[in-house]
Symmetry: C2
Subunit: 406 residues, 2 copies
Amino acid sequence: MNAQERVRHTLADIGARDGELRSFVAVHDEAGAARELQRASSSGGALQGLPVGVKDIFDTAALPTRYGSALYSGHQPRSDAAIVQAIRRAGGVVVGKTSTTEFAFLNPTDTRNPNAPGRTPGGSSAGSAASVAAGLVPLAVGTQTGGSVIRPASYCGVVGFKPTYGVLPTPGLKPFSWSLDTVGLFTRTVDEMAACASAIAGQDWSRPGGGGTPVFGIAWAYPWEPLSASGRKALEAAAAALRESGATVRDVHLPEWLGPVFQAHDAVQGWEASRALADEYEFHADALSPILRDYLTQARRVDDARYEAGLADAAAGRQNLSTLFDGIDVLLTPGAPDEPPQGYGSTGASTWNRAWTLLHVPCLNVPGLQGVNGLPMGVQVIAPIREEALCLRAGRVLQNALRQRG
Amino acid sequence: MNAQERVRHTLADIGARDGELRSFVAVHDEAGAARELQRASSSGGALQGLPVGVKDIFDTAALPTRYGSALYSGHQPRSDAAIVQAIRRAGGVVVGKTSTTEFAFLNPTDTRNPNAPGRTPGGSSAGSAASVAAGLVPLAVGTQTGGSVIRPASYCGVVGFKPTYGVLPTPGLKPFSWSLDTVGLFTRTVDEMAACASAIAGQDWSRPGGGGTPVFGIAWAYPWEPLSASGRKALEAAAAALRESGATVRDVHLPEWLGPVFQAHDAVQGWEASRALADEYEFHADALSPILRDYLTQARRVDDARYEAGLADAAAGRQNLSTLFDGIDVLLTPGAPDEPPQGYGSTGASTWNRAWTLLHVPCLNVPGLQGVNGLPMGVQVIAPIREEALCLRAGRVLQNALRQRG
């Protein structure tokens, strides 16, 4: 299948299968997709016409952009977000926009989870995770402010990658919390992720080896909440598979400063979100979901002192990252609190992601494990700031170990 | 004059005087301004209906937004930028949009300098500086990525204030370089600035006293270029006035790390701008000014290693800020290289501002001095991160000292 056929096939596949899945909210017609393909091909980029879904929290000049809110019905930005241009330069073809919760917060979309019927795909990057899980596109773009990439990846059983804050560009993203908003990606395998993320970032993160097998660390107690039965099961399975494959896995204790960093996320996000969405809150509160409206009402009460203290806690954590990675290369934790929650009333909680988002460290969800009910339960690989190559390399080791164990 | 009369007077004044000045690019009609006043009044904010100009790099839902580029002719955003909402909550009335250079880079606007006929008002916040200098509005909003607030304030002889990066919110600003883009303000006096900035930020930065008179530091050698004759004259006059008023002024040597921070600005801005404006550059290069197009062509060559090294240099500088403020409370430097350059072909250079922007420290341009040709030459007060109150307090001491000297 050449690139043109592949794009055409993707559009047909979305047309045939996405009515039920509801992972896309806008899709190019054939002419639009052909134009995108022409642009992507002329770039000569490594993705060679690969179809890509982009979360509808990013501006696109050729597709409407709603940010998951009725307030932006029919909104047509003038220019493409920076990440859209980066995909194009890498040779990717944006075929459509994927569903996002309202302004990438918590109000659920109607997207379904292809790997857990009757359960949420998570959020806020619901459509990106689900479209990749369903095989509609091999690559999709999301964002994470709390746990909006890693959590839906865990729930949908796909690879989710949140690189270091700022590594993938944010201009043209509807801001929620600018110190946290991070662009991330979804694929089916870690190898594909390494190749796609490298192409888009203009990096070489897929070189194998380079320093031998990473040493993995696992903590069994966390400052936010105890491990769920499914979380523990996934970590134990990951540790066993890694040890069988010959990798070193060490039990670690998390540093004291991690608790305050986790707590600080709330103040940082609240202070910034109440400013970023001031127009929508003050002039159009009735058009917001109750969950967002109530959140913004609360968020407004975060004072400057709490915000500045939160930023200071995060900065201190980044300074002390070496105490988190003492004796290990990467840390493993569950990607989400549990298996995906039943029903569609909630997108789940970002409890296991918030601290890492605020610390700006790269996180990679590796799928292939199940919780106590046999549903998807991901393990996230966490690496030091700017160690994307290490994070992906460790993720590949883990994925291979899990496959060999079968 | 009540608030309603004041707004009406402002609109009439702009209508009568701005044809020549060209500081505004869009102005509310009476009905639009009345609606803004109603919104501002209902907020009960401290600004009590004060008319405000907002740089046309910010989105406004009720006024067109061109970002200084023909590419965005007729562009009408759906929502107001966060700073516009913050002004409204503070009781300010946005009466219109002020001219900006193309995407807040270097291509000049046709705005005139009310205090230096035949010379540039500077940029990129040309209209904001000029409209305040001409007395059309008492308060205007700008942005600084290199020297786009402090430099035009110096050239136009007004107060310009760039608080710590991130203190005033950026959502709804067209990004150029997200690690540098900082929202700033223009007023006629430091007292007005302290009152207005406090109201908008929801802070109390105008409390007098609190720790006695600040100790001022002045360096006579800089890692970027020698002092011009006008720069030296302004610093000497400032030092003499301060000493006469009883303040302590110390000669200081700048720390070694400041040179690399100054150099790093180029890489940080280039790497980010080439991504932020990728759509415009790749699809509409013909519609860009030659100066921006050439810049983006060069900027694209900044590789990740240089970018990351630049960010690291800046972070290290922030860690070592105490060596910059050793024995002093604030530092004084010229606000611009010289008096405003002749003609309108250039907006001048940001040489004296770049390092401070990248360091994220608050900077305040204090007017009232002249260069060797009798034209405006500002002195900027630089304070440690988050020390807005100190910066403004020191600025007030300097302004009063200059006034007493006459």
